[in-house]
């Protein structure tokens, strides 16, 4: 084993299951917010980006235009993941559309945690397919069960989701530059989250961290 995270197919499956369980709570939340089961499924298949989906149904029927804007803002980060994934994936035509749809937190995280191009590519596709399957299955289950299911936080699933992402970033924060970027991002995002609704805090926090990253980088060359 060259990587503490283990075989890429196992990681893809684990991430799919861990994320999928959270899809149950999305399905339940969406029907509770008043969307019907088909609309709930459509959100998971078509939007396929957990953060945006939760933001959309949280605003929901109270203001549909704001719901669209919130989902859009929370989704910006996927575009940045695409920038680093595009040279690795190298797709054309219809495959580019599938690759784009699968460009989310989890696929970027697994891909970035691997060290060879082949593993990064494999990590992207396997994780994308795994998360897509489990996320959508879970959405259906959650939507059917609705409020009957308990709070996923009782089972610590919110902590599991955060730990999974953290474990995937881990190899990249072993060098001091990565650690400083990550710490800055954590602190800045949390501070922004005190005053702004979900979405922008993580973006703004990441931008602060990137500026710090470039400052460190310049110091090294001069």
């Amino acid at each position: 084993m060259t990587n503490s995270a283990g075989k890429v197919s196992n990681v893809a499956l684990s991430v799919g299951i861990a994320t999928g369980v959270y899809g149950i709570s999305f399905g339940a939340l969406s029907v509770t917010a008043g969307f019907d089961i088909w609309q709930t499924i459509a959100l998971s298949v078509l939007m396929f980006s957990g953060g945006s989906q939760f933001a959309f149904v949280a605003v929901g029927f109270s203001d549909l235009a704001t719901a669209v804007t919130s989902a859009w803002l929370v989704g910006v980060r996927n575009g940045f993941y695409a920038l680093s994934l595009a040279p690795i994936i190298e797709t054309k035509g219809i495959r580019k559309i599938f690759a784009a749809q699968l460009t989310i937190d989890e696929t970027a995280a697994v891909s970035t945690s691997r060290h060879t191009l082949e593993e990064q590519r494999k990590g992207f596709w396997l994780t994308g397919i795994s998360v897509f399957v489990f996320w959508n299955l879970a959405t259906v289950i959650g939507a059917l069960l609705g409020q009957q299911i308990g709070d996923p936080e009782t089972f610590g699933l919110d902590a599991a989701a955060a730990a999974a992402l953290f474990a995937l970033v881990w190899p990249r924060i072993q060098k001091s530059a990565g650690a400083i970027i990550a710490s800055t991002a954590i602190i800045a995002s949390v501070l922004f989250s005190l005053v702004l609704p979900s979405g922008p805090p993580v973006l703004l926090g990441a931008l602060c961290a990137v500026v710090v990253g470039f400052m460190l980088n310049r110091g090294k060359h001069e």
Partner: protein, 107 residues
């Protein structure tokens, strides 16, 4: 706005970011600067997300956003220790969930 229209519009809006990122010409992506930028951004976005998922909370009486150190924080500490000890991915994720669940059960 009709709710189906909102769902399609929001999905298209979210997809547009994903697709735009993949459309940036290779020529640009080959620049050292953009490669660095994309690499830094990925780490920073994921770390920021972990931060918000772990430390952001709402005051139960006022509803105001605040920084909280609760079961999620301890679960992340457990994950970090297990990562240092090079435990497999799945063990780390399960241990973090178990830590948070047990702490919530106890308090």
């Amino acid at each position: 706005m009709n709710s189906w229209v909102a769902i399609i519009a929001a999905s298209a809006a979210v997809f547009s970011w994903k697709y735009l990122g993949h459309l940036v010409p290779r020529k640009f992506l080959e620049s050292k600067f953009l490669q660095k930028l994309a690499g830094f951004l990925t780490i920073a976005l994921l770390a920021g997300l972990v931060g918000v998922q772990t430390f952001s909370g709402k005051n139960p009486s006022t509803g105001a956003h605040e920084v909280v150190f609760d079961a999620r924080f301890l679960a992340l500490i457990v994950a970090m220790v297990l990562l240092k000890l090079r435990f497999p991915f799945l063990v780390i994720v399960v241990a973090a969930a178990a830590t948070a669940a047990l702490l919530r059960l106890a308090f």
